[in-house]
């Protein structure tokens, strides 16, 4: 527990951590500032027209599915409500918040990657790992405690940014948009999305941390992670669609959106490329394996 408190103090003292928080909040304010500027508060007539159009879309969607329940959904109605597009209003509608949070998850996860890589790599750059290990020589303990601190830090940061994001969204919807069409479980859905985004951010931070402990620098970790995720997975996914179910980015997308990747070719829903439980498993396996590699290398390699 003492080592955890020490590591927490170290993380809390890092300027980067506060810059990430500040950057996240600033980006939130700027994005919603633009949204507020280009949005306007709809009239009651516009809301009623949008509701009628939405109802027609749902009916069309149900006819199209023939009441067949797509994989990953409880009912055809649920599928249509989530995929037929929300009621369209010319401006920001709060009910779109959950979808917006799915799309901004990438940004949040990128911030987490930077935090994880930096909290793992900075000690090697400043050579303070030598100092730390002369205070706590049990490397397994050092590795796991630091991983725990990274998870705690990233979850705290991402939850805070997402809460700020949602709070500003409510403010914008109330003043320059609409709070109509909110489903009854809207806040529960949004909260679960926040939780999933934070968990994914923590998993990616642990991956970046583990690679930083292998490469012994922040830069090598970020380079390797971005190189793999953007170049390698991008190319692989393009050339070998059949292995999409094993790729980290696809799995993270499925977890965050809580919707499976379905092969819609041929007009049916017969082929599920990646369902939600398997996506959790894929992310978990990547995280655990890379963490184990990081631990083994950290434990065995000389600190020179």
């Amino acid at each position: 527990m003492r080592l955890f408190r020490s590591e927490l103090l170290r993380a809390r003292s890092r300027r980067l951590v506060w810059m990430v928080v500040l950057g996240g909040v600033l980006a939130t304010l700027i994005a919603w500032g633009f949204a507020a500027y280009y949005s306007h508060k709809p009239s009651a007539a516009e809301v009623a027209t949008a509701q009628q159009a939405f109802d027609r879309n749902i009916a069309a969607c149900l006819r199209h599915t023939g009441n067949e329940v797509p994989p990953g959904y409880d009912s055809a109605d649920q599928y249509c409500r989530e995929n037929a597009g929300g009621p369209y209003l010319d401006g920001f509608v709060l009910s779109d918040l959950d979808t917006i949070m799915h799309h901004t998850a990438t940004f949040v996860i990128l911030l987490a990657l930077i935090v994880g890589a930096s909290l793992g790599g900075a000690d090697w750059t400043t050579n303070t790992m030598t100092t730390l290990l002369t205070w706590e020589s049990r490397r397994v303990r050092v590795f796991f405690v630091r991983a725990a601190v990274i998870v705690a830090t990233v979850i705290a940061i991402t939850v805070f940014i997402e809460v700020v994001f949602a709070a500003v969204a409510v403010l914008v919807a109330a003043t320059r948009g609409s709070t109509a069409f909110l489903p009854p479980d809207f806040w529960r859905t949004v909260s679960l999305t926040m939780g999933r985004v934070s968990l994914m951010a923590a998993a990616f931070a642990v991956i970046a941390y583990a690679i930083a402990m292998v490469g012994r620098s922040t830069v090598s970790s970020l380079g390797l992670v971005f190189g793999y995720l953007i170049v390698f997975e991008g190319i692989i996914a393009g050339f070998r669609p059949s292995i999409q179910g094993n790729l980290l980015v696809r799995a993270a997308v499925v977890v965050v959106s809580h919707q499976p990747i379905v092969d819609g070719g041929g007009g049916g829903f017969s082929t599920v490329l990646l369902d939600v439980p398997r996506a959790w498993l894929v992310v978990g396996v990547y995280t655990v394996i890379l963490a184990m590699v990081g631990l083994v290398v950290f434990r065995r390699r000389d600190v020179t």
Partner: protein, 307 residues
């Protein structure tokens, strides 16, 4: 009990392009309790690698090491809390204040503000404690690192080149600090390539070169391994002085513009009196001591391990 015991330590590093570099080659060493122990040798002698092996940072290729009686390979965590150490340059987070760096370390062992304040006071950094470490001079960084080692009130301090890069004033500061720590009953194991510096501080020394132990023991004994001591005498008429001393059965030679009398320094009074009785008056009279540099150079030359 020996504070540090090393038997047959060997460490090889694999080179990236193949082959191996032997950093330490069968080193045996025993460091007694109390006082300052100088671990001397030129750059590349294997001093830092030995220290890293002692602290569990580097895995030895073979050999046995113990620290405070505990086997380093198996029981290091049980004694690491009683060991303060600095390995090479003091490593601290440059953007954190000196105090914050100490707080982070102090929390690992549950030390509080009192221990931090006492450590900062001890090394004279209390007034600059809130400044970022990147604003510190090298001497201040070195003192901060020593303050960190003192947080745990260690019975053994392992300091790797603590005077490295310091200006003369900084060297004197560190020397005084080491002396006072040693006088408190702690064991100070200090490595250095500046032999003259350690000579002024250490009670015992070990000299290593190319990963091998050359000699070890109390400083006086090590100094005595290369020839005896003598007395250097300067006066106006060197030849007359040589004759007068010779007549008094004091063996001497003229060398380098002075007379070197081959007698212990405590016979200086006899030399002075003998010359004065012959109406010869000394302008300089000093012991001709052998320093560790000389010992090191002679020993490494004799054993074929010099650079």
């Amino acid at each position: 009990m020996a504070m540090i015991e090393i038997e047959g330590l060997r460490k090889e590093f694999r080179r990236l392009r193949g082959g191996r570099t032997v950093a330490v080659d069968g080193l045996d060493l025993s460091v007694p309790e109390g006082g300052v122990f100088g671990f001397l040798g030129p750059n590349g002698a294997g001093k830092t690698t030995t220290i890293r092996c002692l602290l569990g940072l580097v895995r030895p290729s073979s050999g046995r090491l113990s620290l405070l009686g505990a086997d380093v390979g198996r029981a290091l965590p049980s004694v690491i809390g009683r060991v303060g150490s600095i390995v090479e340059a003091p490593a601290m987070f440059p953007r954190f204040s000196g105090r914050r760096n100490l707080e982070i370390l102090a929390r690992i062992h549950g030390e509080g503000d009192a221990a931090i304040d006492a450590s900062l006071e001890r090394v004279g950094l209390r007034d600059r404690a809130m400044d970022p470490v990147k604003a510190y001079s090298l001497g201040m960084k070195q003192r901060l690192a020593i303050a960190a080692t003192l947080l745990r009130d260690p019975s053994l301090l392992i300091l790797d080149e603590p005077a490295n890069g310091l200006d003369p004033a900084g060297i004197v500061e560190v020397r005084e600090l080491l002396r006072s720590l040693g006088a408190e009953g702690r064991t100070i194991f200090v490595s250095s390539h500046i032999l003259s510096e350690v000579q002024q501080t250490a009670d015992h020394v070990a000299i290593v070169a190319k990963g091998k132990l050359i000699t070890a023991g109390p400083v006086n004994e090590v100094l005595a391994t290369t020839g005896g001591t003598g007395v250097i005498v300067k006066l106006a008429d060197l030849e007359a002085g040589r004759r007068a001393l010779g007549a008094a059965n004091i063996p001497c030679t003229i060398t380098g513009g002075a007379i070197r009398a081959d007698v212990p320094a405590y016979q200086s009074e006899r030399i002075s009196r003998t010359l004065a009785e012959s109406k010869l008056y000394v302008t300089e009279l000093r012991p001709d001591t052998v320093d560790l540099e000389t010992v090191f150079l002679e020993l490494t030359r004799d054993r074929g391990v010099g650079d």
